[in-house]
Each structure stands twice: as structure tokens, then as C-alpha cells.
Point group: D4
Chain length 251, copies 8
């Protein structure tokens, strides 16, 4: 929090130009570290078990390092998504617990491993090429205290593959399905389970897949009513939402 800002608010309050309520709200609003180029948000800090996350794409290595440095100081679990081995090298120097996950292009610090979910989370892919996105989802869900079951390469063209995994799906509180091309797998999985399915379109495909648009539209139009969708290649968001769905509610 920025001390001079607090002082400014307090003096405005003392002079009567700011009510107590507004002053309190303004101070609460300072609940972030201001790095100039970024306001690192602390408001989420109190919620147990949430990892802190840095979206790496489009940030300079030194910006990532500065934000990461702030986060690892006060959070046990931290994720840096869409980054590079080079950035990992820098972050490893800041926090030796940092792990590099090659396929997901993700750095993770996982110092707290409590089990916070009511059940398991299955993460399913249609093909081998969808694994990096699915791994991002799986690693995120684990960082938020969940047990994850990975089921790779069970696309609908060989329907017996997913049917043979039905016993795994049936033990899950929520299922994540990553698929590119026509994105049909979430609809099939949705019909096999009675829990929410979080569908992640991937940009895998060519031509009229339009870098994931075909899969995205397929998922949005799913005839299975239990399917919800996130952005193309948004493994992190799928893992995050699935973890919230699986979380114990007010026990």
C-alpha cells in the first residue's frame, strides 16, 4: 500500500472534504502494491487456497520478475502462465521452489498442498496436441488444492476410447474437456456424466478450424446442457473455474 496516498486520504478526511465512509473505502481501495506499470492486487489474498497468478504473455521478463517477487513473498502457491524457459531461469533465482512445466509453458510454486475439493477433477483431451492446454488446466487445479485425473487422446472418432474411461469420469465432481478441430468431445462427455463440464476449445486444427473458432462454436452450441465454455486455449481459466466448482462450500 502506498503510504503517501493513505496520508492524503486521511488529511482530506480530517479537513472534512471526505466522509468517513469514503475515506475508509478509499483506503481499502489501496489494497495493492503499485509497481508503476502494474497494481498487484491484494484483495484476493484472504481467500484460502487461491494461487496468485501472473499472465506472462505480453509482459517483459523484468515486469514478470517484479510481480512474481511480490507474490511469492506472501502466497504459498504462485503460477506464471504462458511464459518461457528464459523467464523460468530468472524466477528460479528468486524462488528456488519454482517448477518448470514444459508442455504447458508454465512456472509453478506449490508450497501448500492441502486437499480443498469435495471430489476429483477429470481433465480430458480429444487428441495428443490438446495436452499442453489440458496440462495448464490440470496444474492450475492442483495448485488450488485438487486431485486431478488426466485422460489423454480419447476423441470421438474412436468412441470406444472415451467409453472405456467412463469409470474414471463417474468419480469426478467436475470434468474439464480440451478439444480442437470440431470440438465434439465435451458434448459426448456431457451426456455421460451428471456433473458440470468445463469445455476448453483449443487452437489445434487447420483451415476452417480458424484457430479454435470451430471448436469454440461447437462447445457453445453443445446439446448437452451441463457444458459451460471458456476462451480458446484458456486452460488456466478452465482449471480455475473447475476448482471453484469442486471447492467445499462453507464447511
Amino acid at each position: 500500500m502506498d503510504r503517501s496516498e493513505i496520508e492524503r486520504i486521511l488529511s482530506e478526511h480530517a479537513s472534512g472534504s471526505l466522509s468517513s465512509g469514503d475515506a475508509a473505502a478509499a483506503i481499502e481501495g489501496l489494497a495493492y502494491d503499485d509497481l508503476g506499470f502494474a497494481k498487484v492486487d491484494h484483495a484476493r489474498e484472504k481467500r484460502q487456497g487461491f494461487p496468485e497468478v501472473v499472465f506472462g504473455l505480453g509482459k517483459e521478463p523484468d515486469q514478470i520478475a517484479a510481480i512474481f517477487g511480490k507474490l511469492v513473498e506472501r502466497s504459498p502457491n504462485v503460477l506464471v502462465t504462458r511464459t518461457t524457459p528464459e523467464v523460468f531461469g530468472i524466477l528460479r533465482n528468486i524462488c528456488t521452489d519454482a517448477e518448470w512445466h514444459e508442455s504447458a509453458r508454465l512456472v509453478r510454486v506449490l508450497r501448500k498442498k492441502d486437499d480443498l475439493g469435495v471430489g476429483e477433477i477429470s481433465v480430458v483431451t480429444a487428441g495428443t496436441s490438446d495436452v499442453p492446454v489440458a496440462e495448464e488446466a490440470a496444474l492450475t487445479a492442483e495448485a488450488m488444492g485438487n486431485k486431478v485425473v488426466r485422460i489423454w487422446d480419447v476423441g470421438v472418432a474412436g468412441i470406444h476410447r472415451i467409453l472405456s474411461q467412463r469409470h474414471l469420469l463417474k468419480g469426478s465432481r467436475v470434468v474439464i474437456v480440451a478439444a480442437g478441430m470440431e470440438g465434439a468431445l465435451p458434448s459426448v462427455v456431457g451426456g455421460l456424466v451428471s456433473v458440470p463440464v468445463v469445455a476448453v476449445p483449443t487452437s489445434i486444427g487447420y483451415g476452417a478450424s480458424f484457430e479454435g473458432v470451430a471448436a469454440l462454436l461447437g462447445m457453445l452450441n453443445s446439446c448437452s446442457s451441463n457444458v459451460v465454455t471458456v476462451n480458446i486455449d484458456n486452460g488456466f481459466g478452465a482449471g480455475f473455474a473447475a476448482a471453484l466448482i469442486n471447492r467445499k462450500w462453507k464447511d
Copy 2:
């Protein structure tokens, strides 16, 4: 189930051209009423508390009536979405419990009202014109055994309106947000709560809203990680997914 089909399967089995396993699977596969134009699915029947649903759009009134007739025989709660007062007139004659919900254009039979959720579900709209879609979500969630809190017309252009409802949001296990035009409300709500947010883009708007596409894209690209999305105007799907998220897990 179709008796002649069962007999065919059994005789193929007896003759040895069908293994026991295949025969059993084939018989299980007959778990629907075949009306010719529709195969009314019974497989979902065992799962407690699910309403049976007829998607009314594009079906003839007599097709809807035939399917509805099958469903009310064996399910306490039934929904017919995207339908008309005329169809309601016909269905009321089949089942006098049927209710007509004008704004959502929906027929509902609600004979079983157990509370099956772990918490409440908030349903929020950005504007008055989004209410029909939101009502479809709310009516669905209620039919699946949930308490629903309705919060209408709190769009982001007057941010104090949603902020003043924060106490309602905080008591919810899941929040549904329906918004048209720029579809910004789910992102703001997502930042105010720590539960899943199911975003429903509506086709409200004009010009570059492209009948809900602008809102859909806004929600898919939400910077709040707890937002998942369903199809444009898909209030039913949002209510259904929210009910699954709120459902008690294996008690």
C-alpha cells in the same frame, strides 16, 4: 422401450451372432421411448431432481405435446422452453399443474420442490431487457431444487447499483449474470465474488452488438478467472449448469 427390438436382440444372441455383452448393451441402449420423430431419453431418469426438458423452438405443437405427455407421466418436474401461449393451452389440457411464464416464454410443471442445493443462486441482469433470458435461468434453477435471488438492472454504467447488491452476491454459491450490449457485467461481478460466475450473453443491443456476439466475446475474454460462458440467450443452460454446481456432492 421397443419390444420387437428387444426380441430381435435376444434372438440374435440366442443364435450366437451377438455376444452376451453386446446384447446387454444393445438392450440398455433401448432406454428411450421412440416416438418416430423423437427418441425420448430415459437414461437420465434415475438422477434425482433433474427436470425433464423440451426445447420448443422448431418443433410442431403436436410433437411438443406428445413428448410432454411422455415426460409428465414419469417426472415430477418438466420444462418446455422457447414456446408459445398457444402451446401452453394444449399442454395445460394434458397436465393441469402446468404454469405459463410470460417473460421467459416457458411452461413449467413443478410438483417436487425439495431443496437440493448447498447455497443460493443469484441471477443478475445488466438491463431490463435481459430479464426474459434471466427468468429462464431462474425458473430452471428452481425446478432443479434451488433457492434463487433475482437482481435486475444493475449494469456497469451505474456501478453503484451492483456494488449496493454486494451483500446478496456474497451469500451465493454460484452467480448467473445475463447481459447484452458490451457484456461487461460478468467481469465486474466475477471480481466481487469468489464463487463461479455463469455468464449468459443476450441478444439485446443493435448495430455492432451483432445479436449478442459482442456480449459473448466480452464474456469469453473476461479478465475475471471465475467466469464461464454459455450460448447467447441460453438462460436454460445457465440455470442448469448453476444447479449442478450448487448441488450437494454425494451426500
Copy 3:
């Protein structure tokens, strides 16, 4: 054929300004009836078993009647697609054999019923609302001398429905699959059979289905290699292509 045109060609030939080859080609090119607004093509006439077809959409009733009149004179089987009961009334007066098919909005004359295929053609729909398009395909295939198996409402959200029909699919030389919304059914069917699958996207759906575009993209991106696609709602084209595939080759 237009007599004055033939004479013009012959006189040009006689005068030496047109070679014999060019004259012959020009005369062959006259192989159509010229109604002014339409050139009714006779070149296809020799090929056995092809129905003559009038695409009704966007033509005036009297234009349809004039073309139809020419066609029934010389072809045993004639189709008029995308038309109305009103037009049917007119055509019935021209040819009392004409049948009206309500769901497909199609007029058919079927006076020759030889079996010209090497096997059967299955026509499959994902939902009840896809039946009109599928019927157009089925009626076309029948008019071209094929036995057709109709399998309605077996969409992927209840995967056991299509699995239970596998024995029907396995007897087919080619399968037509009509589906709207996410259009996933052709991929699943494609994985179950080893014959060509002709996928027809339908405009059934709403919101991000974009009137059949989602289904079309799903089919074009199918992970099943035996799936080929036709235009949205093009039941006629699917039936026509399937009939050509099923046709006996040079026996």
C-alpha cells in the same frame, strides 16, 4: 432445341465460316429447351435413373410450372425442392402422379422405382428438428433408385441412442447425417462405420449457431477421415451425392 439456331449454325458452316467440328459442337450445345428465363438442360438426360430437379426457391410459380411441364414429359422421376403447397396444387394439375411431402417441402414424381444401388443408404438425424432436411435427402435418394433407412433423433448428448442403432449403420454403403447446433454426430458416426459419411449441417440452433455455421464448421473439421460435407440445409445435395456413391459402377 431451337430450330432457328440450328439453321444459323448450318448456314455458317455451309459458308465456310464455321468448321465442321465447331458446327457439331455448337449443335450439341443446343441440347436444352430454352424457355427464355431458363435453359432446361437435356444433356443429363441419358444417364439412367437420375431424377430431374427444380430448385424452387426464388422462382415464380409459373416459372416452376413451365419447367416442371417440360421435365415430366420426358423423365419418369422429377423433384421440385423448397416449394409450397400452393405450387404443389398447380403441379398436381400438370401431373397427377405428383406427391406432396410436407416436412421436406418437396414435390416428387416417382414413376420408376428400380433398385440401382449396391447397398442401403442410412439417413440419420441428431434431433427432431433436423428431420425436414433429412427427409429431403431421403426422398432424393429414393427417387434415384435407393433403399433408405431412416434413423431420427440420436444426437450425441445421449450416446447410447446412436450406439443402439449400430447394426443398422453397419449394413449401409453410405451414411447421411443431418445435424444442427454443434454438428458433432457425423464425427461419431464416422468412427463407427467404414463407409463414406455425407454430413449435412442444418440451420437448427440459436445464438452462436449462426444459422448452421457452427454445425458446418464442426463437420468440415471432423476428426473422422471419412466425412465429407455439403452446404447448410442441403438435404437434396446429400441425397444426390449418396446415391452416386451407392450406384453400381459399370456393370
Copy 4:
């Protein structure tokens, strides 16, 4: 097949928690090699004459090599599409029969050369730049036991070029046409033959060709009823579908 999985199924069956039918189905469902990142499908194995195929795009070289290794063990004919000379180097070491096809960027093992078709397959291109896609189609069709006729660079702007090849087209049981830009050639070819035409849009063009979308739309809207379409640049799919169409039926 995964032995421990089979044992798990058998013991569940022995304990009575799994019926015989379910157990048999589950075991059948294990009909693939599980490489972790991929489930190599054996179910297709019985069908005579199908090549095994690896879609190379987006897979790591060692993943391709591992899958390829499994496939060449049990299949005489194997294709690896969309790959590189570097990968070919690796695969050549695994199987010395492997051929490199430069223009199609494709590795092929062709150890079984039976003629399985009822006729010939013509593969036609509009321009020189469409040849790589067309070659992929031709090589695939050959690997599936077909005689292929190649007709390159006969686009519609010089209509005499395709007309002069009419004698070749007339001997074909099915014609594949690859075209970019406006994609008009399949419509013209469709009007010249009475067999199915499989149209492959290519991404050749610039500006408003939108990387093959213009050609794709042209083909989907073809006024020739015998044209079916596959994805942009999907030479493999076109060749595969054409081979199925040409295949002898149940002899």
C-alpha cells in the same frame, strides 16, 4: 492393450460389481496402445486395406516416431502427413521402406499394393500451386489400393484445358478437385461427369481469398449437385473419402 487395466476389469467382474456384458465391452475398449500422450487406435485394424495415418502437425518428432513405430509393426501401409524432412530422417531409421514425398510433405510406407477399387480416381488441380494438396490426396488414395490419374493446372480461366481432359475424367469412378482462389473448378468438373466429385479448397490466393475461405464457400455453394467438400488443404481427407467411394462393396 494395458494388462493391468484388463486385470482390474476382470477382478471387478469376478466380484460381481461389473456384469459380463460391461466387462466385455470394457475390454474391447482397451483395443489401443496407450503411449501416455496418445492412444493408438487398433479398432480400425481389421478393415482390409486401410493405411494407418499419423497427422504430423503439432506433434513432437519423438511422439511421431513412437506412434509410427507402433504402426509399422502391424500395418503394411502407413502415412505420416504434414511433416518435415527432419522427421523423415528419423522415421527412415525405424523403417527403411519409408518414402519422402517433397511436395506433399508426407512420409509413406507402401508395402501392400493390391488394387481394391472398382475404377480409377482422377485428381485434378486448378493451378500449379494446388499440386501439394492434390499430391497428398493422390498418395493417400494409392496407399488405399487405388489407381490414380493426375491432371494438373486446368483452371477455369482457360476452359479448353479441362475440356481437353474430358476423356480422362470419364473413366473415373470418383474425381478429386483441388482449387484455391475462387474454387470454381469443381462446379465445372461436376457438370462434366456423372460420378461424385470431392472438392478440396486450398489456401492458395491472397487478399479476399482469406486463406482458402473463398474457395471453400464456392465449393459448398456449388450448383453441381454431385460435389461434396472437405476442409481447406485437407488433401488426405479427400483421398481417403474418394478411396472409400471407389472401394468394392462386399465382394
Copy 5:
């Protein structure tokens, strides 16, 4: 011209606040009748043989009548495009020379019929449904002093139809081709002639024709270098451009 405006300009000039040049330009700029809702342009008036044109779509009948009234006073030839029989009734009362053209939905006054072209203009359609757009082009070209050859329903699926009309095309100084669906005909015609081809996509089609977009893209990507394109259904623009191309240059 607006008298008070001229006076304002002159007095500003007299007072020295406006230079002679600016004053002259300003007066020249008044070369239109200001009807309040419309500024009827006279600047084009001097160019011999141009018809005056009112684009009817989106204008009130009394607005059309007012503009039409001004135009027929000083121009021998006037067109009103995209209008209705009702409007024609009103315009006929203003000018008894007005003709109604049903298929093109166009009112024409044609009092001057000089031949202003160096050659003929061929207007060609792919199908019967394209005729209204083509008629708009033909009627416009005639109103601008051209001889027009109409060639209807010669689409590429029956290539012999257009080939048999080659002798007509060869006598034309410019060819207009109207086509919907895949829009392939301009490319074929372009290859048959050595004069400019003006391609008009029509909105005829369904599904992936996207109301003329497929045809438009086909024409923009034509592999025939002599094809230029106008907007979807813009028969008027095609006729106008063709007339300018055919016009004698400075004789």
C-alpha cells in the same frame, strides 16, 4: 440553385472577405436543387447521355416523387431503382412516359435513344433467379445509349450452355455476368473473351452463400484477369460501369 445563397456569396465577395476564386467555386458548388432532405446534383448534367438516377430504397414515396419531378424536367432519361409498383403509380402521374419493369423493380423514363456505344454489351446470368439483377443492369445500360444482348441461365454446371453462346459474347465490347451461389460464371466467361467482364454477385443461394458473400468472394478472387466486381445485387452499378466502358472516347 439557391438564390439567397448566391447573394450571400456575392456580398461576402464584395466586402472582400471572400476572394474571387473562392466565390466562383462557392457558386459552382451551388449546382444542385436543395429539397431540404436532398441535394439534387446538377453537376453531372452536362455529360451527354447519362440518365439521372434515384436510388429508391429507404426513401419515402413523396421524397422519391419530389426528386423525380426535378429530374424529369431537365433530363430525357431517368431511372428509379429498387422501388415499388405503388411508387410507380405516383411517378406515372408526374411523367406519363414512365415505364414499370417488374422483375427489376425499376421505373424508367427513356425519351432519348441515341446509340452511344462502340459495341454491344452482353448481360449474362448463371440462373433464372439472377435475372432481376441482370435486368437492372440491362435497363440501365440501355438508358445510357447501349445495345444490350441478354443471355439467361447459362451457369457452369452445364458448361455447354455458355459455350454455345460464345458467338454472342465475341461481339461484345464488355460483358456483364450476374451469378449467385458460388459465382463461378464470370471466371469462365472471362476466359472466353478478351474484353472487360463486370461481375455482379447476387444474393441468390442459401446457407453458406451468406446472401451473396460466397459469390462476391468468388468474383474478387477470379483467376481471369479481366474480371472486375461490383457490390452484391448491384445491377445498376454494373450497367453504369459497362456503359462507361463501352462509350466512345472523345470523338
Copy 6:
């Protein structure tokens, strides 16, 4: 404001479960009339000279009447946009000052007519058909206390028309330009003035205008740096923004 809500907040505050600051904020957040289906916003009320606005599209007549009734009680100037003569009839009964503006489809109450701008606002259209949108802008700007200059039908195809109006443009503090079709006029106007230009694309056009998209893209890509853009047909937004730009700042 909702009394029971205030009481709830106060009692929560008294019991210590709500801080003073939060309570104050919550009460401030109640600054709207809650009509159930709508929360009529009062927060904007204090800002001098702003009209209250009801966006009529998609609201029921009785909803509009209820909101309108609330607004005319406390605001001198009220607008109801995108509405009908029927609704006007109802509103006229509520407030006899209401005016009906036919071309803009807008109801206006204008009881306060102070001049609040620093200069004039010019509203310009490319064609006659753009006038309704432009009128909406002009009526809005007037309701916000501005003098408006209307310049209709000066599109770029007759460039002398806009050049002859340059003296009017030069006296304006801000210029609104409404144009459909290619939307080129804002760029030309932008180059003629040194004040902000608010561009409004209209849905006027056909074919590849895509209901205003072509004009919208033209304006977004304007090579004149002083052009900003609002949504297609958003005359109200253009008038509103122009009024804010023209407003005296802190005098």
C-alpha cells in the same frame, strides 16, 4: 430510494456487522428508484442540463411509461429513443409537453432550453436516408442545451456539395457526421475542420454494406486523426458525446 433497504442497512450498522463506511456507501448505492424490472438511476441527476433518457427498443410500453413517469417528475428534459407513435400516445397522456419526432422515432420533453455550449454543433449526413439517425443526434444535442446546424445529403460522390458548406462547418465546436454505405464522409469532413468529428455509421446500404459494418470499418480506419466513432445507427450517443465536448468546462 427503498426505505426498507435503508432500515436494513442502518440496523446492520447499529449491530456492528456493517462499518460506518460500508453503511454510507450502501445507502448512497440506493440512489435509484427500484421499479422491479428496472433501477431508475438518480446518480446522474445532479449534473446540470443532462436529459434523462429511455432506450425504448425491447421494452414493453408499460415499462417505458413507468420509467418515463418517474423521469418527468424530476427532470425538465427527457428523451425516449427508438420508440413508436403508439408509445407516444401513452406518454403524451402522462406529460402533455411531449413532442413526437417522426423521422427519428423519438419522444422528447424539452422544458428547459438554456444554451450550455461554447459553440455550435453541426450535424451532417451523406444521404437522405441517413437523416433519421442524424435527427436523433440533433434532437439529443438540442435537449442538452446546444445550437445545432443541420446539413443534409452532402456525400462524397459529389464533393462540391460538402465543400460549398465549409463556412458552416468552420463555425462549429464539434461536427457529427452520419453516413452509410462506404462511410467516407467523416474522413473528408475531418480534413476540412480542426475540431473533433463524431462519426455515426448508419445501416443504410445493401449487400456488402452488411447493415452498417462497411461504414463502421471505414470510420474506424479514417485517415483523419480527429475522427472518433460510435455504434451503428447510434445517433443518440453521437449527440450526447458531442454535447459533452461542446459543454463549457467549469465556468
Copy 7:
């Protein structure tokens, strides 16, 4: 100005083939330096406080240098946008006052620093990655004589961040908001202030952000009436328009 052109005009005038008015207009039209590949515009020169601008993208370094050389001779403030450090090296040699701004990729010469605005301009970003675009806006506004307040990284997912900056926004005559992804921030800011908001969509995001399209649509559909929009990543245009809005009017 090009001397030989002036002479040509004068001699045409003397010979009577050009009126005085046309000659004067023609000479005025020569108010640019003609570099062959570019016509450097002088007409804008007289307007006080405008920087001269070179859009660097797609121009050769020596073209930029030549234009820049002309501009710095007669303008105190010059901007070169979308350029590179390499070009900066060349420009620095031409004018040692040139500054390099790394994040905005912009060269600026700022020799005149008068304060020309009536208030301040706030420039706000949703995230860290939007800063480069926002900096381009800020640097432009400064070059046009404005005081700029920078507020970075206050996106709507943490709504308290923007609320805590409300005191800064309230002192501004105009606010620029740069946001990618869902582009929701301008709507929220628009509701907090009563001045114009210039929204700049950025291309930050992935998948269904479509390189800024989602943000652009969000802004065009903003429910806050005071939001106007510029092109994706057009920081320069936003800064330019904001400066014009903030400029003192005719004092």
C-alpha cells in the same frame, strides 16, 4: 510548393483555359511539398499547437527521414509513430532534440510546451500490457499542449482499483481508456465521470479476443453514453481527439 506547376497554372490562366477561380484554387492546392512518393501537407500548418505526425508503419527508413526532415524545419513539435530504434538513430542525426519512447515505439520532438488545454487529460489502462498504446496517446496529447495524468492497470476484475482513482478522474476534461480482452473498463469509467471518454481497444488478449475485435465491439456497444471509440491500438488517434476536445475554443 512546386514552381513549375504554378507556372503551368498561370499560363493556362493567361491563355483563358483556366478561370481565375480555378487557378487560385489550383495554386492553393499546391500547399504541400511533393517528395514524389509523398505529398507533405502544409495546409494544417497554420493551426496552432498541432504536432506534425509521420505514421511510420510500412514506410522505408529513408522515406521517414525525408518527411521528418521537411517537418522539423517548420514545426516545433513532431511525432513519428510505430517506428524502430534504428529509425530513431537516423532521425536523431537530423534533429538532436528527438526523444525515443521505448514502450510506445515513438520518436518525439517537443520544442514548444505551451499549455493549450482547459483541463487535464487522464489516460487509463486496464492492464500492464495496454501501456504501450496508452503511452502513445499520452505522448501525443502532451505534444499538443496538454497535462496528462497516467493511471495504469486498473481493470474491472478488481473494481476497487479504479474506484480508488476516482478523485483523479474527476479533475479531467476528457478521459482516454485503453483496454484489451473484453474491453469493459471504458463503460465503468464512463459511468463514473461526466466528460467524454475516448476508448481505445488494444490487441492484447488471445483466442476469441481476435486481436482486439472483442474489445472494440465491447466499446462500440458501451451502455455508457459518453464513450466514443477509435481503431484498435490507435493510441495516437485517441490522444489527438482528446487534445482537440480539451482545447480552448476561440478565446
Copy 8:
């Protein structure tokens, strides 16, 4: 021409299986050199003054060289578009007359320089960055025997620049206008001249220009009736069409 093909045709003719007409047509159809990967078209050869053209994009250097070698043997003027300096090096060795045009990326052989046009062709650009496309048009038109006037950088934001060039435009038989961004210049030029305008959208721009789509749509929707359009960046097509328009007709 392929000798063995001719012999095959003749022997089929002799045996009676081919009519004289068909044989003649077949031989005429051989009027191209078959290089295997390309059929070099000779049919266009007779038409005076047409350059032979190779579209370089997507062809291998040795393919270009082989085609080029065939063309320079029999045509005085040859163009190779969209190529590289490396390819130029190879072609120079084949024909020392070849010229390299850097900005248009084009190789030209221009050995015959007759003037074949009835007037001049003006080529106009909106900006400096549009010059490469415009140069391609200009070089093509020159190769087809035309005098070309180049007018660079006269975009509509400084309308006096194009107005000052009006005397040049007025001497032209046809005008080519290349513009990116909003593509407004053809509409303005179209209003200034009474000859055809060939509009070429360029891919210059960013963000919502969508690589030339905005400009393309602007041109297709031009309110100037004399504007026709070619594909994005298709300078060659514009030059070719303009040359045909300018060509003397049958003298």
C-alpha cells in the same frame, strides 16, 4: 503441344470412336505447353498486345524459370509478379531484357512498346504505402501498351491534394485508385470524373482494417456509380482491366 496426344486423338478419330468435330476440338484443346506441373496457355497468344504473366507467389523458382523460358520465346512482353530479387537473378540469365522493379516486386520484359490505348490511364494512391500496389498496376498497363500518369499520396484527409490534380484526371480514359485504411479515395475520384474507376483496396492499415477488408468494403459500397473493384492488393488485375477498357475497339 503434345505430339503423342495429337496422335492418340487422330487414331481414335480414324477408328471412328471420335467424331471429326470432337477430334478438332480436342486438338484445339492441346494449345498449351504441358510442363507437367503447369499447362502454359497459348490460346491467349493471338490477341495483340497482351503480355504473358506469371503469378510468382507460391511457385518454386525453377517452376517460374521454366514457365518464363517458354513465354519469352514467343511473347515480346512478359511479367512475373509477386516475386523476389533472387528469382530475378535467374530470369535475367534467361532473358537479358528483364527489368527488376523493386517497389512492385515484379520482373518485366518490355520489348514491344506500341501505344494501343485510346487515352491515358491515371494511377492514383491515397498514401505513400499504397505505391507498391499502384506500381504493379502501372507497370502492367504500360506492358499492355498504355501511357500511364502516376499521382501518389493524395488521400481524402487533405482533400485539396486530389482536387489540385483534377486536370490530370480529366485527361484519362480510365482511372485506377489504390487505397488502404478506409478506402474512401475511389468514391471521391469517382465523383470528379466521368470515366470508369478501377478501385484496388490495399492491405495497408492496422486493427480494424483487417488487412484490407475495410478498404475493400468501402470500395464495393461506393456511392459513386462508376467504381468497380478488384481483390485486395491486386495491382496487376487493376492494370490489366484498365488496359482492356482503354483499348481501341475493333479498329
